[in-house]
């Protein structure tokens, strides 16, 4: 049992082997049936090195991330459990983290969380007892020192591969690399970024991050995704917090004969440019209702072509 718990996560092994990794976000169902999770995971397939289970993303209630992660784990997939500070205080979060470890969930992504105003329960109380950086540090303390925030000792140390999010595409731009440093200092070993639609901005960010030596301390995965149409791009841009889609992209979609095909083409171009940047260790695909495109993006980008899974 302890041997199993000490085992590194598959995602961590892939990243440590020096190969590019691919993670993707699963659509958390509004359902109490495990089959709903299986159905959504099936499209993402066994291709992904990690499947992110969102924690009421956009402050919309769905099946909980811990349940989705446990169901994925049991079905042989590699879950990345997202945990946000919006809905729980430090007592609940530590309990859930222990629970996740007990369910053999190894990858945990610590987030601040979107405000409740974006979601389907804007009248709810938002908690924010601590922020994502405090959450990272608290989780690391549990894993490394085997104690709660209160100092009380744990019977066994949970083992986690800790991750954090980054958004290089919103102000204050020159503070963003410093905030990433805080997250890495607090314990983040892998980073998944917000959607990238602005490659020059990503380049500036990665240059700063490389200069600070941060890309050697954590594995950075760039967030990408196919846009369905100019209309849906406009909707995402004005309704999903933190997603920046430049006008040029929307124009390109509008002018295209087949907007969905163009959206996929743009995504593939961004993947190509991102993985060529120094310091980038993989991609994180968020497909927003177009999950069926994930295997195509992986295949057509050739990102896993030379994959060696004997690691």
């Amino acid at each position: 049992m302890s041997g199993q718990l000490e085992e590194q996560s598959k995602l961590e092994r892939v990243l440590r082997s020096g190969q590019l990794a691919v993670t993707a976000e699963i659509n958390s169902p509004d359902s109490s049936l495990p089959e709903s999770v299986h159905r959504n995971a099936l499209v993402l397939g066994s291709l992904c090195d990690g499947i992110n289970a969102t924690d009421a993303s956009g402050a919309n209630v769905h099946l909980s991330s811990i349940a989705v992660s446990a169901i994925l784990q049991k079905a042989g997939y590699e879950p990345v459990m997202q945990i946000s500070c919006r809905d729980r205080n430090r007592i609940a979060m530590q309990g859930d983290l222990l629970g996740a470890a007990a369910l053999n969930i190894k990858n945990v992504l610590c987030l601040t969380g979107d405000g409740v105003q974006t979601g389907d329960h804007p009248e709810a109380k938002s908690v924010f007892d601590m922020d994502s950086i405090n959450l990272l540090k608290m989780t690391r303390t549990m894993a490394h020192e085997g104690r709660f925030l209160s100092g009380r000792k744990l019977e066994s140390k949970p083992k986690f591969f800790l991750g954090a999010a980054a958004n290089p595409f919103v102000p204050p731009f020159d503070f963003r690399p410093l905030r990433l440093k805080k997250k890495i200092d607090a314990g983040a070993k892998f980073i998944q970024t917000q959607y990238c639609f602005d490659v020059p901005r990503l380049k500036t960010y990665m240059d700063a991050v490389n200069d600070m030596g941060l890309s050697e301390k954590a594995f950075i995965l760039i967030g990408v995704g196919p846009l369905k149409s100019a209309k849906s791009a406009q909707w995402i841009r004005s309704n999903v917090p933190g997603v920046v889609i430049p006008d040029a992209i929307i124009r390109r979609l509008k002018q295209a004969k087949d907007q969905a095909a163009e959206g996929k083409k743009i995504c593939l171009e961004i993947v190509q440019q991102a993985i060529e940047m120094p310091g980038v260790k993989g991609i994180h695909i968020m497909s927003y209702g177009q999950e069926e495109l994930v295997p195509e993006i992986i295949a057509e980008s050739g990102i896993l072509d030379n994959r060696n899974n004997n690691i």
Partner: protein, 151 residues
Amino acid sequence: MTMFRLHPAFLELIYKSTVVFLNLGKPLILRSRIINRGLIFAERLFKKPVFDCQMCGQCVLHNTGMTCPMTCPKSLRNGPCGGVRNNGNCEVKPEMMCVWVTAWERSKQMPIYGRNINAIMAPLDRRLQDTSAWANQLSGRTEIIQDEWST
């Protein structure tokens, strides 16, 4: 919203001299309940109009560009979330400039404490809400919270 927007370099000097001044009266402040109440009153009186102080009782203003992080709707103490709008405004309150965009710009104008914005701040001790941050600093309580967190 704050009524005044004073220059951060000026405010950090005021902060520094307040610390020196309060330290002089330390034995008295820590012993007298009346003085403690007076401090709470004074903090409400001065810090509310200048910083829109939320009386968290563990002031970190000098570490956050002399901009109160408790005015962030997510009360973030370690930097801006990923939801900041293109124009630098808040995700939750679209009409308000992001507290951390302001904090970052202002910390660059602060020669004494400006670089403290890079430090990781401890999570809040919610028991200190509505107590005097000045008294908590003098008694060493604020420092203990931060030290315990950092080690």
